[in-house]
């Protein structure tokens, strides 16, 4: 079980590296799809079918939108020359890596090892079938115990749509 997850993660890492170094944008976007669909299979391996269903459709929609955006642009990335700013970027990246690694080292002591999770918090939720009446526990939590979060999520989605329309629409609705 764990070994399959490791294989999927290595595939995702390869896909992301290729995606960031691809010459033209179309192959970058398509190999970005590897990461998303690898994530879908990882969700299935981790027993989260709800998330797998959402992620697979979202990934397709994201790919369609991205390809629609870059479709009629023919930009090829020119060779990056080593310069002073490049050196600074790498230094910043190294500092970030060290900081994240130290933080991860600190918290990994309090994390239980992979697959040995003890559901301290979620015991009430897993027993809550008869409280919400929903056989799918995830839906029961999303709408029952944590309705406020869902309300906030709906608001964020609405705001994002308004933002997209505001940015993209030049003419008014009257068409003047």
């Amino acid at each position: 079980m764990e070994i399959y997850l490791i294989i999927m993660l290595i595939l995702m890492i390869c896909g992301s590296l290729f995606s960031l170094h691809a010459k033209d944008l179309l192959s970058a976007v398509i190999s970005y799809g590897i990461v998303g669909f690898g994530l879908v299979i990882s969700f299935l391996l981790l027993q989260a079918p709800d998330l797998a269903i959402v992620q697979v459709v979202i990934e397709i929609v994201t790919l369609v939108i991205m390809i629609a955006v870059i479709k009629d642009t023919t930009e090829v990335q020119d060779k990056q020359t080593a310069s002073f700013s490049q050196f600074i970027y790498l230094l910043v990246l190294l500092l970030f890596t060290i900081a994240f690694y130290l933080a991860f080292d600190k918290i990994s002591g309090s994390l239980s090892p992979f697959g040995q999770h003890t559901t301290r918090m979620a015991t009430a939720y897993t027993q809550g079938v008869h409280e919400t009446g929903s056989a799918n526990l995830v839906t029961g939590i999303v709408f029952g115990f944590r309705g406020y979060d869902t309300l906030g999520e709906a608001t964020v989605l609405f705001t994002a749509v308004i933002g997209v329309l505001t940015i993209l629409r030049l003419k008014g609705k009257k068409g003047e």
């Binding site: 459709v57 919400t132 009446g133 056989a135 839906t139 709408f143 309300l151 609405f158 329309l165």
Partner: protein
Amino acid sequence: MKGMTIIVRKVTQFIAPIIFLFGLYIVFYGHLTPGGGFAGGVIMASAFILQILANGEILDKLRQEESGLEFLESGAILGFLIIAGLGLIISSSFVFFSNFINKGIVGKLLSAGMIPLENIIVGTEVCAAITTIFIALVVFKDEVAL
């Protein structure tokens, strides 16, 4: 926006209603099987996206559709708030998001009180939002060039 070849268009005629129906199924059975409002809403939106991509739509018609979708989306959020507020007014416990309808038997379609209603409303909202984003990004992109 131009459409695609006849093969794609003819197959879309059959596939798009079935995809939409499957999205509705995911929404209606969200409290029994994997899925729910979010997944079903995105699947329903993908049926519309498939139709727009395959047939190629006229810009003016899409403008009308888009304003209708905005109306649907705002209405869905309002409905969500009303359902949440009903718990405050009607139920005896006076809590926001109170699940006051009879729960029924776990595993039947008519169970879980308010959760199917909330599923349907969130599905409508997500479907409208993602279709609007797609129309804006793909169609209004051409408009900016004018």
